[in-house]
């Protein structure tokens, strides 16, 4: 067995970095903070690789065991119910360790050039470190409550990083929005945790899953029979937990924060809002997958439908956006939708667990190519100083490395063989085909859309019109620190598909042989290629075709362009309905009744005291008169009343 110290060090190194840079960074490590952070992350990445190697070469009879590397009981409520801090090592957490440390390392290196010269350079790295620590803690969590704690921590660091340019009002609004929306979803998560722990009597993952998947257990009987609104308690619990996951993963209808989150620095978007944090919801569902699959298949079906709907919904919006980061944001949402419906159509164990493997596989490859896309977009933005497509065009000569790596990423996400996206998407589609035909067709359509909008983006940035001449030539592509992560991620995006993923990750821990069906692959690949071709025709050269098409679609185009007016709907609900119907009466009540009561007490006291004060006039004779009246009164009382 591997040394638990190594595993503990993986999250603790970033934590140490955060504390060091956060407390002393701005004074002592102003210039060197980036190097320090990168070196710490490099160590953590090395350790992750070692742990992964060690773990995957020690399969126990073909099954990867779930092991607790270390566990420390933090708060004990009952003998079984306790909040622990520990590290649960199983295939998905090991895979997530690799993904998080790798992408984070890339982003750290990339940021050395990208954020250079920023006043709060050290703070930026401190936040990145905090995020990395929280994300690693999240994936290692051995306890449902521990995952919640780290869940909130990643939410916090995401908030801090989105609002990093805090003097930009849009960034401030975006970070608030992200925080509030995800926090709202986390409320569901918390309630879900409480329900699950109430019925299972534990927070520990292994015990919890064991209890809730054994139909004979007493806890299970309670959880299934207790019902609310005709739905069993366990289903409510799992659905609420999924709401938390959906909030973090920007699933419809809680997706509205993700596009706005692009106000943060681009490397941050690559790390948090593409590769790692947003897949936390997927990870959460995967973590509790046995319960979803075996106990509450209905909830799992909801997961599938939410994923499928979000996938196509986001893909449609992505086709119309002009801000390149927003296109990528919607693309991310769409791809996470893929992962979720892959889980949704999956079943537990054996061949039927293909969806699970496919989902994790797609998570893995998506992290590579989406991080690459964001970093590439970051390079473009760095060069052009604009997020808008209309300011770009013809950049392929000026940014050759960015161009090639971006193309690789686009091919990967479009599902063109032999790039990484092809393999993972293939598996997802196959799982959907076996699981749910409707979802399969939705997914097929979505992958066509994906290919279209990615290449729309690609052609608009790198081809289309002639390069504008006003771009600064002086800083070129951004140097080694920015290019190296691009190249490394491009290699990942190109080659990650050849990893026999089923050998490592599966729903029940046993190895899963993935079959490759040439005939099955034809349809998605053809659809993808036709999407690319359509984009080629419309955007290769600057033309009116796209505008004409948009005009002919009229209202539909406008609706999609405005993201189906979801934001406006939310604004309507919150501002018009919630504020007017609940907020205002509450404010009125508070102002007039609660405050009024307090004020009345105060005023009455002041008034009475003013009256009493008047008696203390400072006139001796008045006092004497009081005294005389008092004595006279007492005499009368004693003489005639109390004889």
């Amino acid at each position: 067995m591997m040394n638990p110290v190594y595993i503990a060090l993986i999250p603790l190194l970033p934590l140490a970095g955060f504390l060091m840079l956060g407390l002393f960074g701005r004074k002592f490590f102003k210039e060197t903070s980036g190097i320090i952070a990168t070196l710490l992350l490099l160590t953590a990445f090395g350790l992750s690789v070692y742990v992964a190697y060690d773990y995957f070469t020690h399969a126990n009879g073909g099954v990867y065991p779930k092991t607790i590397a270390f566990q420390y009981t933090w708060l004990r409520f009952t003998d079984t119910l306790s909040i622990d801090m520990g590290a649960l090592i199983d295939p998905i957490s090991v895979m997530m360790l690799l993904v998080v440390t790798f992408v984070s390392l890339m982003v750290h290196i990339y940021s050395l050039a990208y954020v250079k010269g920023e006043e709060r350079f050290a703070t930026y790295y401190a936040y990145l470190m905090l995020f990395t620590f929280s994300m690693l803690g999240l994936v290692l969590s051995s306890n449902l409550f521990q995952i919640y704690i780290f869940w909130e921590l990643v939410g916090l660091s995401s908030f801090l990083l989105i609002g990093f340019y805090y003097n930009k009002p849009s960034a401030v609004a975006a970070c608030k929005k992200a925080f509030i929306v995800t926090r709202f979803a986390d409320l569901g998560f918390l309630i879900g945790i409480l329900i699950l722990s109430f019925y299972s009597g534990t927070l520990d993952f292994a015990t919890l899953i064991n209890t809730l998947t054994t139909p004979e257990s007493a806890a299970m009987k309670n959880a299934v029979t207790a019902s609310f609104l005709g739905v069993s308690a366990i289903s409510w619990g799992m659905a609420l937990v999924f709401i938390g996951g959906a909030g973090k993963s920007a699933m419809f209808p809680l997706h509205i924060w993700l596009p706005d989150a692009m106000e943060g620095p681009t490397p941050v978007s690559a790390l948090i809002h593409a590769a790692t944090m947003v897949v936390a919801g997927v990870f959460l569902v995967a973590r509790l997958f046995p319960v979803f699959a075996l106990t509450t298949p209905a909830v799992l079906e909801i997961v599938g439908w939410v994923g499928a709907f979000s996938a196509i919904f986001a893909a449609m919006i992505a086709c119309t956006q002009t801000d390149i980061k927003r296109v990528l944001a919607y693309s991310t949402m769409s791809q996470i939708g893929f992962m979720l419906f892959a889980l949704g159509v999956s079943k537990y164990g054996g061949e039927n667990g293909l969806g699970f493997t496919a989902s994790m596989f797609h998570l893995f490859t998506h992290a590579m190519f989406k991080a690459l896309l964001f970093l590439g977009a970051g390079a473009v933005i760095h060069y052009v100083h604009s997020n808008e497509m209309k300011d770009m065009g013809g950049l392929r000569k000026l940014l050759p490395i960015t161009h090639i790596t971006f193309l690789i990423a686009c091919l990967a996400i479009a599902g063109v063989p032999p790039f990484a996206g092809f393999f993972s998407k293939e598996e997802i589609l196959l799982a959907a085909f076996n699981g749910n035909k409707t979802i399969y067709y939705v997914a097929l359509l979505t992958s066509g859309l994906t290919a279209f909008y990615m290449f729309r983006l690609y052609f608009n940035i790198f081809w289309s019109k002639e390069p504008a001449t006003q771009h600064d030539k002086h800083h070129g592509e951004g140097g080694f620190a920015m290019m190296m992560p691009l190249v490394l991620l491009a290699i990942g995006a190109a080659a990650a598909g050849f990893i026999p993923f089923g050998n490592f990750v599966s729903s029940d821990g046993a190895k899963l042989e993935s079959h490759f069906h040439l005939a099955f692959s034809a349809a998605p690949v053809l659809i993808g290629l036709s999407g690319i071709l359509l984009a080629f025709v419309m955007y290769k050269k600057q033309s009116n075709k796209a505008t004409n098409l948009a005009n002919s679609l009229g209202g539909i185009y406008k609706t999609v362009y405005h993201k189906f007016y979801i934001d406006e709907l939310y604004l309507f609900i919150t501002k018009k309905i919630l504020f007017n119907l609940i907020g205002r009466p509450a404010a009125w009540f508070d102002k007039n009744v609660v405050d009024g009561l307090v004020n009345a007490t105060g005023n009455a006291t002041t008034m009475i005291s003013a009256k009493i004060k008047g008696m203390q006039s400072g006139r001796v004779q008045q006092y004497a008169a009081y005294f005389f009246a008092g004595v006279f009164g007492l005499v009368l009382i004693f003489l005639y009343i109390w004889k």
Binding site: A625, F628, F632, V635, L636, L639
Partner: protein, 172 residues
């Protein structure tokens, strides 16, 4: 009517009239002199009661001490002969009413009550007995109150000096 009775009524008249004048005169010096006569009238009543010692004390302390002190302070704070500002009529009427009510109440109580008047009305305290009991430490001795009063007088003496002393200018 006996001579002593007439003397008593004269003394009573002197006391009450001087008292009224002492609190109503607009000239402060005249008020002080009226007070002097009122106090003398009371001393006269003590004499009439055959309590020579207390009458002497009354004259020495009140007439010779306090009234002189009051007259001195009048000279210190007021130019003599100046009229004092008169009180508001409402206040005067109210005070008179209050005083009269109190007086009436006391009188009513007085006449309803029957005091056990002793038969030995000729008995008067001798000065030697007064001295013995005043400084006596036995059962009915008044040595302790006497010492307390002496302490009080000392404190008052020092207090007067401290209060009336002109505060020195602060040296910084």
């Amino acid at each position: 009517m006996e001579g002593s009775t007439i003397i008593f009524y004269l003394l009573a008249l002197l006391t009450v009239v001087s008292g009224i004048l002492a609190v109503t005169a607009t000239n402060i010096l005249r008020a002080a002199i009226s007070l002097l006569f009122a106090l003398i009238g009371i001393a006269g009543i003590y004499f009439w009661l055959d309590y020579q010692f207390i009458a002497a004390v009354q004259i020495v302390v009140y007439v010779g001490g306090i009234v002189v002190l009051i007259i001195f302070s009048i000279f210190l704070t007021q130019s003599a002969g100046e009229k004092m500002p008169s009180q508001k009529l409402g206040r005067t009427v109210f005070s008179a009413l209050a005083a009269f009510c109190g007086f009436a109440l006391v009188l009513i109580q007085l006449f309803q009550h029957n005091f056990p008047i002793s038969k030995d009305l000729t008995l008067t305290p001798k000065v030697a007995d007064i001295g013995t009991q005043m400084l006596g430490v036995k059962e009915e001795g008044y040595a302790l109150p006497f010492e307390l009063v002496s302490m009080l007088l000392l404190a008052a003496l020092i207090g007067c000096i401290v209060i009336a002393m002109r505060s020195k200018p602060q040296t910084t």
